[in-house]
C-alpha cells in the first residue's frame, strides 16, 4: 500500500511525519538537527530515500545534510557557497549599493532524474548547483550577473531565492523567484536568464510595472503543464499560460489576495490552493479564522475550505514553502503554520485535521508519496 512521508522544516529542527495512504494515523520522527533552523528539506524524485536538508544557524552558519535512507540517518555534505568571481553589489533597503554576501540556503530542489544533482536557492539571491550529491556547489552566476542584478533589493525577510521549478518536459528550462526581484526563466539549463514579470503590478514600487523589483512570494506549476505557472505575489494571485512571458491576475473573489504559499492539485492542473493572509504586516488569517481557498477553475473563482480548521482566535501564518500535495489517488494537501501545526486534508481540501499541533514554527513542508 502507498505511504506518505511529510518533511517538515521548523525554526528548531526537522520532523518527519509518516502514514499509510489513509493518512489518519501518523508517526512523528524528530527533532532532527534540534535547535537549528531548517529552512527546507526535500527528497529526490529519482530516489526518494535521498533527502537533502538546509540546516542553518545564526551562530554556526550553513550546513547541508544528506540522507540515503529516507531520513533514518544523515551525513553533513558540502557547505561552501562562494559566489562566482567578484560578487559586486545589489541595492540595500535604503537604495544604496550593498555587497552581495551569502547568508543561508532557503530552498533545495533535487533534480528530477539524478539523485546526485541538486540546486540550492540562497540569500543573498543566487542559484547554486551540485552534481556530486551536495559535496560541492558552484554558482550558476548568469542569474545574479543579469543586467538588472545591481538593482535587486531585499524584501523584509532578506533577499532570498526561494522558488526553483524544473521543467519536467524540457531539461533546459527552469524558473526561479526572488524576493524582491521577481521571477526569472532560463532556457539553457541556468546559463542565462530573463526576467518574466510582465503583467505583474506592484504599487509599492516607483514603477509598479518595472522589469524587476516585484515581491514574488511563491510559484507553483503542475508537472503535466510546465508552461502554466501560478504565483502568489506579495499582493495578487497571478497565472501565466506562456511560461511566464506574461501574467494575468486571478485573485478573483479572494477576501484578500495577500499570502505566501500556493500549490496545485496533483491530478487536476486547474485546481489551486492558497491561504489568504491579512496584511500590511499583520500576517495572520482574516478575522482569526484559518481558511484555505481552492479554485477549480485555474483562479478567479475561489471557495473557502474550513472543515477541521480553527475558525476563531487563530493568528498564525503559513509561509511560502509550507504547503505541499501528495500524489495519491485522492490528492492530499498539507500545510504548516508558524504556530507549529501541520494540517492534512486527505480529500483535496474538503476536510482537514492536524497531524501535529505543537511543533516549533513551521518554515517548510514537502511530501513524498512512496510506493
Amino acid at each position: 500500500m502507498s505511504k506518505v512521508r511529510v518533511l517538515v522544516g521548523t525554526h528548531k529542527g526537522a520532523f518527519i511525519l509518516t502514514s499509510d495512504g489513509k493518512r489518519d494515523n501518523w508517526k512523528v520522527s524528530g527533532p532532527h538537527f534540534a535547535g537549528w533552523e531548517i529552512y527546507h528539506l526535500k527528497g529526490s524524485p529519482a530516489d526518494p530515500n535521498r533527502i537533502y536538508v538546509s540546516q542553518t544557524s545564526g551562530w554556526f552558519g550553513q550546513t547541508i545534510q544528506r540522507s540515503n535512507d529516507g531520513g533514518k540517518s544523515w551525513e553533513p555534505v558540502g557547505n561552501k557557497f562562494s559566489y562566482d568571481g567578484v560578487p559586486g553589489t545589489h541595492q540595500w533597503y535604503d537604495g544604496t549599493p550593498h555587497p552581495w554576501g551569502f547568508k543561508r540556503v532557503w530552498h533545495i530542489e533535487p533534480s528530477l532524474v539524478d539523485p546526485d544533482q541538486v540546486y540550492a536557492g540562497v540569500e543573498d539571491a543566487a542559484l547554486f548547483h551540485s552534481t556530486d550529491g551536495g559535496q560541492s556547489w558552484s554558482e550558476l552566476s548568469g542569474l545574479r550577473q543579469h543586467d538588472t542584478g545591481p538593482h535587486w533589493q531585499p524584501g523584509a525577510g532578506g533577499m532570498c531565492l526561494h522558488t526553483i521549478i524544473l521543467d519536467p518536459a524540457d531539461p533546459q528550462r527552469m524558473y526561479i523567484a526572488i524576493s524582491a526581484a521577481g521571477a526569472f526563466r532560463s532556457d539553457d539549463a541556468g546559463k542565462t536568464w530573463k526576467p518574466i514579470n510582465k503583467g505583474l503590478v506592484s504599487n509599492m514600487m516607483p514603477n509598479p510595472t518595472g522589469e524587476v523589483g516585484h515581491c514574488v512570494h511563491h510559484i507553483a506549476a503542475h508537472p503535466s503543464r510546465p508552461g502554466v505557472l501560478f504565483m502568489q505575489k506579495h499582493w495578487d494571485v497571478m497565472r501565466s499560460d506562456n511560461a511566464g512571458d506574461t501574467w494575468q491576475e486571478v485573485s478573483g473573489n479572494l477576501p484578500t489576495d495577500f499570502g505566501f504559499c500556493i500549490d496545485v492539485h496533483a491530478h487536476e492542473p486547474e485546481t489551486l490552493y492558497v491561504v489568504p493572509i491579512k496584511s500590511d504586516s499583520e500576517h495572520f488569517p482574516l478575522d482569526g479564522a484559518l481558511k484555505v481557498f481552492r479554485s477549480r477553475t485555474g483562479g478567479n473563482e475561489w471557495e473557502p475550505l474550513t472543515k477541521g480548521l480553527p475558525q476563531k482566535d487563530c493568528y498564525v501564518n503559513v509561509l511560502r514553502d509550507a504547503m505541499a500535495v501528495d500524489s495519491l489517488d485522492d490528492c492530499g494537501v498539507y500545510f504548516g503554520t508558524t504556530g507549529g501545526q501541520v494540517y492534512v486534508s486527505p480529500d483535496a481540501g474538503d476536510n482537514w485535521s492536524p497531524i501535529v499541533r505543537d511543533l516549533p514554527a513551521v518554515l517548510s513542508v514537502e511530501v513524498q508519496t512512496l510506493a
Partner: protein, 107 residues
C-alpha cells in the same frame, strides 16, 4: 630534517558543533608548534571537515560573529589568529574554549 614535537591541545566545542561532528565535549588534537588559534582551527577542520565554515568563514577565515575563543579566563577572540596561545593551553593543561555567544532572542 629536524624532528618537530607535536603538542596535545585540548579544545572544548559548543554543544551544536559537538552534535554536528558527532564527538564529545572535549577533543584533543596533536598539533605542531606554533600553537595558535589558526593552527588549532586548521587541525579541527582537518579532523572534522563538517565543521569547516561553522567556526570561521570558508574564504576569509574570519571568526563567525557569534562565536568567541576563551582560554585561561581570558577572551582571546579579538587577538590575531596567529598570536601564540597561552602556555597552559600549548602544554595541554588548559583547554581552548570555543563558545557560542549567549544571544537569547525571539527564536
Amino acid at each position: 630534517m629536524p624532528h618537530v614535537e607535536t603538542k596535545s591541545i585540548r579544545v572544548i566545542l559548543p554543544y551544536h558543533l559537538r552534535n554536528l561532528a558527532q564527538t564529545g565535549e572535549e577533543v584533543t588534537l596533536a598539533i605542531s608548534p606554533p600553537i595558535t588559534v589558526r593552527t588549532v582551527l586548521d587541525a579541527i577542520e582537518s579532523r572534522y571537515p563538517m565543521l569547516r565554515g561553522t567556526i570561521r568563514d570558508h574564504d576569509s577565515l574570519k571568526r563567525r560573529p557569534f562565536l568567541r575563543f576563551f582560554a585561561c579566563a581570558e577572551d582571546l577572540s579579538h587577538n590575531s589568529p596567529d598570536d601564540p596561545l597561552p602556555e597552559s593551553v600549548a602544554s595541554g593543561r588548559e583547554p581552548l574554549l570555543i563558545i557560542g555567544a549567549i544571544a537569547g532572542g525571539s527564536r
